[in-house]
């Protein structure tokens, strides 16, 4: 009796568990996977997948043609530039609407841009705004007042001061920052100095609007630290209002994101997939199997260990679904350019001639064909080929072991004799070891020097690289916007990304000259000179190859877009997708 009762209870428990367990979701028009998603808050997006999703949810004043990366009208139907190239005036279209039907107006942009400046909202790409007149000044005001409030004595005083500051902050923003609205459909932005690629920034995600009335409610003074903070949990289907081609239907953390078409989007008739489901899959192999089984329409940016075999099969014509695309990023080795290393010992590569010799004795073709086996595009320059309209790529230091030996001899180390051991630092995993070994072997063979390898775990490696505790380090860089400065700013003395310790007045002067030049052709020529200088004379880095991404999909089912067709998946190196232009057949 007791046993039967126990069994019955047990069965009842399982019955409840199974009945309340959910059933598999319905297949969306487009299903793809993602390995990680940090936020759906478009303004705060930093990872490339987060950014791609935010382009599905929002649209800025301007937008990108994903096939050519030209700037096209977005919420603004047109814009004019003042004769001094400082003031941009945007005219908003009247048919741009939010997903709840409200019109998109200048107030939405003003509110979003105002919030983007607040230190407590702390978006990483805040610097996209620094070109606007008064932008930095307003942030300074915020920081100054934060400090002043912290210096007050009691909680009551601080609380009162913080609330007063909150009440003033919008007025202050309007007063200091040169962004002005002239009614709901016209606004102007004045820059600190002319910036030819400003329209590219306006089309980028940090400049997206937010529904002013809704997002205002999410902004509060925190009683804990007296800062102005946004309530981060606003990114839920019931509170998230979007103006892009899609709206958020469901977000299950570390599980999936479901987007459905925003019927109010002004180009709604161009929207291909009516629903998109992004499935969270962390395991590369599981994603691959899911694709093979047909669960995913595309295995986007696959990083399975057997990627080289897939590429091999594609080259032999055995697989039609493997697509290799060069991307907007370069894999390179960075040199420490400081006279001394962090621990005070002399830097063995302080002499540019030694760096030059090292750079000239690496056979990149060998590297991509036999080591990575991915056939990436070998490169001697930093900016990826044909990725920026109007920019001719420069010629860097070519593979020439004979000349390399000569340069090394000139530097006082004939046949590498007397040169201290060169250490290569890299982060372990993802095949970086193999490449470091291959490069070390090339240097030893061609130059007769000795090389040692230092593999470090990612977090440790980052610290090593940022603090200049290396001699040679593995590095990679992807551009954030389509202008050479997204790469070349890295070598400026005051750049936060200058891991090489480069302090070169000539380079800084060239970059400054480019910044002061408005004529596009002239400006590009100066930037070319700067790139040539930093690669061939300073030799701050050793470019190896352009990053390559591999997508798996059946071209019969998922259309590949071209500048002519204007629909389908984009193969542009910038690798930013406008999912609404995709066309899926099943």
């Amino acid at each position: 009796m007791r046993t039967k009762l126990a069994l019955l209870i047990l069965l009842a428990v399982f019955g409840v568990v199974w009945v309340f367990g959910e059933s598999a979701p319905e297949r969306a028009d487009l299903t793809l996977h993602f390995p990680a998603l940090e936020t759906l808050d478009g303004q705060r997006a930093t990872a490339s997948f987060d950014v791609r999703v935010s382009y599905a949810l929002f649209e800025g004043l301007l937008a990108f043609n994903p096939y050519t990366f030209e700037v096209i009208p977005g919420v603004a139907e047109s814009y004019t530039v003042s004769p001094d190239n400082l003031t941009y005036t945007f005219t908003l279209r009247k048919n741009a609407r939010w997903s709840n039907g409200d019109p998109v107006t200048t107030a939405d942009f003003l509110e979003a841009w105002y919030q983007a400046h607040l230190p407590g909202v702390a978006m990483k790409y805040q610097e996209f705004f620094y070109h606007i007149k008064g932008s930095k000044k307003f942030i300074e005001w915020c920081n100054r007042t934060t400090k002043a409030i912290n210096e007050l004595e009691s909680h009551e005083e601080k609380w009162q001061a913080a609330n007063e500051r909150y009440d003033q902050s919008r007025e202050k923003f309007a007063e200091i920052v040169a962004v002005e609205a002239d009614g709901p459909y016209k606004m102007s932005v004045t820059l600190e100095r002319p910036l030819p690629y400003f329209v590219h920034l306006v089309a980028s995600w940090p400049y997206f609007p937010l529904h002013a009335r809704a997002i205002r409610k999410e902004l509060n003074v925190s009683p804990d630290n007296y800062m102005i903070l946004r309530n981060w949990t606003w990114t839920r289907p019931d509170t998230m209002i979007t103006n892009g081609p899609y709206k958020l239907a469901k977000w299950r953390f570390k599980r999936d994101v479901l987007l459905t078409k925003n019927a109010y989007f002004w180009k709604a008739d161009l929207v291909g997939p009516q629903t998109i489901r992004f499935v969270h899959i962390t395991q590369n192999n599981t994603a691959y199997y899911a694709y093979e089984q047909g669960q995913l329409d595309i295995c986007y940016e696959t990083v399975v260990e057997f990627r080289p075999e897939l590429v091999e099969k594609a080259r032999e014509g055995k697989r039609k679904d493997v697509h290799e695309i060069s991307s907007f990023g370069t894999y390179f080795y960075g040199f420490n350019c400081r006279p001394k290393l962090a621990d005070g010992s002399p830097n063995p590569v302080a002499d540019p001639r030694i760096r030059k010799a090292l750079a000239m004795s690496v056979d990149r073709k060998e590297l991509v064909e036999n080591v990575t086996r991915m056939y990436q595009r070998p490169t001697t320059c930093f900016i990826p080929h044909q990725s920026i309209h109007g920019y001719e790529n420069v010629e860097g230091l070519k593979y020439d072991p004979q000349a390399a030996r000569q340069v090394l001899a000139e530097a006082g180390y004939p046949d590498g004799k007397g040169l201290p051991v060169i250490e290569i630092f890299y982060n372990t995993g993802q095949g970086h070891e193999l490449q470091a070994q291959a490069i070390a072997a090339m240097w030893e063979k061609h130059l007769g020097i000795s090389v040692s390898l230092k593999g470090q775990e990612w977090k440790v490696f980052q610290e090593t690289r940022n603090s200049g505790k290396f001699v040679v380090c593995r590095h990679g860089w992807f551009g954030d916007y389509v202008d050479p400065t997204t790469f070349l700013d890295m070598f400026k003395q005051d750049s936060g990304m200058n891991d090489f310790g480069l302090k070169d007045p000539k380079y800084d002067a060239l970059m400054e000259k480019a910044a002061a030049t408005y004529d596009p052709a002239q400006r590009m020529a100066i930037l070319q000179e700067a790139e040539r200088y930093v690669l061939n004379e300073v030799v701050a880095i050793l470019p190896l190859y352009e990053y390559k991404v591999v997508h798996l999909f059946d071209p019969e089912k998922l259309k590949i877009g071209t500048p002519e067709s204007q629909t389908g998946m984009s193969f542009h190196p910038r690798n930013l997708q406008m999912f609404y232009l995709w066309r899926v057949k099943r």
Binding site: A24, E127, D224, L229, K254, H280, T282, Q283, A290, L296
Partner: protein, 317 residues
């Protein structure tokens, strides 16, 4: 029995307090700044203010304010608008720890319970068979299966099952969650080590019981082998299994990180690992405390079940 339940419930908050304190100390001494961002650093006053927002500048204040929020005390004294608030994730700012747990825990519970059910059925059947046909082929087979179940790492079992059932025979979908079909493979992979252990426990218990006097008496009275084994011996032999089921169920529910990864199950396991990697203090404490509560409750359930199955056993608090 009521006294037992009462005492266990009284103990619960104290146990949890100890667990909270230890977890808190551990996460606090681990190096790394949970608010650190790659790239440019904000000005000092902003960094300080953000630390204050989460009480990261003061461990004592963090300890007590978090305790007040998470335990529901702040709610009871009217300082907070909801009880059991575990705060927001520091890495994934859009998420609160409560939301993360609410999304992943039911899945882990479902998977864990199913795995334990499978493990019990397989384990008991194998164990009984092994004991009854002791020394025979079946016994050897049982022992081998148990050995394999314990020694094979779950990522091997999981991958093999995935390749066979999903890729070769295409009977289940990969990377999907929902529906019974997608539950079975991960549940089986998760259940194997438990099944193996249960099989060994059952076999040993059964061997012991089968040699005892009351079984001989039962046999002498002419009871059939089936009745002897299933009705009389089983009742006693099952007790060690029962006591193992409490912690085993909680373990299975905490999810196996590996099994979850291979089958892409959106359960709790992933948060255990990634929260530590990201030094996501709130999330670490949240998962640990919730898991500990589950562990304690399941142990209590087992004790109750003990008393229920065998009324002779006295269980006191």
């Amino acid at each position: 029995m009521l006294r037992l339940i009462f005492w266990r419930l009284v103990q619960l908050p104290f146990l949890l307090l100890v667990i909270y304190t230890i977890t808190f100390l551990l996460v606090w001494v681990v190096p790394g700044d949970p608010l650190a961002v790659e790239g440019r650093r904000p000005p000092e006053e902003v960094v300080l203010a953000m630390k204050r927002q989460y009480n990261l500048d003061n461990p004592v204040r963090f300890y007590f304010s978090y305790l007040g929020e998470a335990s529901g005390v702040n709610y009871l004294i009217g300082q907070s608008d909801r009880p059991f608030n575990f705060g927001s994730s520091m890495m994934y700012k859009d998420q609160t720890v409560n939301d993360i747990l609410a999304g992943s825990m039911p899945i882990s519970v479902q998977l864990g319970l199913t795995a334990i059910l499978i493990a019990t059925v397989i384990g008991v059947v194998l164990g009984v068979a092994g004991a009854v046909y002791r020394g025979g082929v079946l016994d050897w087979a049982t022992l081998s299966v148990a050995l394999i179940g314990i020694s094979l790492p779950s990522f091997v079992v999981a991958t093999v099952l995935l390749v066979l059932f999903a890729l070769s025979w295409k009977v289940v979908a990969i990377g999907q969650w929902g529906g019974l079909g997608n539950l079975i493979l991960p549940a089986v992979s998760l259940s194997l080590p438990f099944a193996a252990y249960i099989a060994r426990l059952t076999r040993l218990g059964m061997l012991d019981v089968l040699n005892s006097d009351f079984i001989r008496t039962a046999r002498a009275k002419g009871l059939s082998q089936r009745k002897v084994v299933l009705k009389h011996a089983m009742k006693v032999a099952f007790l060690p299994v029962l006591s193992y089921l409490g912690p085993a169920t909680a373990m299975a529910m905490a999810g196996s990180f590996v099994v979850e990864q291979v089958f892409n199950v959106p359960g709790m396991g992933v948060h255990f690992v990634s929260a530590v990697q990201n030094k996501d203090i709130m999330l670490i404490i949240g998962v640990v405390v919730v898991f500990a509560t589950m562990l304690i409750l399941f142990n209590m359930l087992v004790d109750i079940a003990y008393a229920f199955v065998d009324p002779r056993i006295e269980v006191d608090g």
